[in-house]
């Protein structure tokens, strides 16, 4: 019987732990990024949020806030599926070098994506390329899992 690949004896799993935890913090970081805009503009999402800040109002179309929220939604569209795909990919017992670089590329690409989308707006195709690198890494990993499981 084969032993589990999901132990820290497996360097691919250890690398996954590291990059995946970085990605968790990266997604969580979208909250203070949104809050910074909301408090500086005093624009909140729900009526009950306006009671603690003077002159606060509810508004759902502020361009700077919606920009951060779109970056956050794009994270939700891309990061959880990568986390799951990469977890499955470990079961295919991939080469360490390849696996680590896929995790690294995805993680860096998603950090760049948020930076060029919602921190300093950089003209396209900056965001498209960052998104595409993460997207391509996820497709590669998912296809490898399917080929392995056939």
């Amino acid at each position: 019987m084969s032993s589990s690949l999901y132990t820290t004896d497996n360097p691919v799993f250890s690398a996954y732990l590291f990059y995946c935890a970085i990605l968790v913090l990266k997604v969580l970081f979208m909250a203070p990024l949104t809050a910074r805009q909301r408090f500086s503009k005093r624009i909140f999402i729900s009526p009950e949020d306006t009671t603690l800040t003077p002159k606060a109002k509810v508004k759902h179309d502020d361009p700077d806030i919606e920009r951060v929220r779109r970056a956050h939604l794009n994270d939700l569209e891309n990061i959880p599926v990568f986390m799951v795909a990469a977890l499955l990919y470990i079961a295919t017992n991939p080469a360490y070098f390849l696996a680590v670089n896929l995790f690294r590329i995805f993680t860096i690409a998603r950090i760049i994506h948020t930076f060029v989308y919602a921190v300093v707006v950089i003209p396209q195709p900056a965001r498209a390329l960052a998104w595409g690198a993460g997207y391509a890494a996820t497709i590669y990993v998912a296809v490898q899992v399917i080929l392995f499981s056939l």
Copy 2:
């Protein structure tokens, strides 16, 4: 000590690898589905996206684009939680036949959901039934995990 169920010696885990990777690709497929609408209508989500396409504009209420985005959001509401629930379900050591068919029903239901919602709009209750099949499968799996862990 019981050995890990998360190895490819366990046919339920192997089936999970396959269906879960299909679901990852299914969620990723929402991006080209959205892009197809955006480029054909020249309607984009952020101002910087309009510079590469002539006559492009920003608009957030196009019915065809918003339809694809709603299907995508519905995926995010349902697919990651199923992926996690099914991963936990493997630990309950379920019967192979039952587990594989739950994975299969969920996967097919979600593909049909997107098709009837955002590719060819089919009257209700088509979408409600597709959504409900995936929803019921997720509840069943989650409840089995809770009963097992008590």
Copy 3:
């Protein structure tokens, strides 16, 4: 070679199964919470949904429905990343007492978050505190994983 921590011999993993399955059901519960508002107000999200209910209409800015949807989106922003972070955290072989209480705090915090946001609206900082407890638990878990994997 170390044996897998992802078996029910590990009480931390068993606790994870329980709390994570509760969280899955908690996220799924947002759907009937939204549907209850939609059917009582006869306000639906897509044109094809209005054919089965008399006097139904499409509207995207009803405050009560959008409130439930914001609570749902906040779940998607916070719960899947916690589920993944906690899964990784198990690999660090944490003390049972600490791990179980982190899972418990997160789960209870998210249930309270939905209650004060979308069931009975309770003035701030109720929602901020519930959100913050879950957020802090996720950061703690993710940072522990990073420190462990260095």
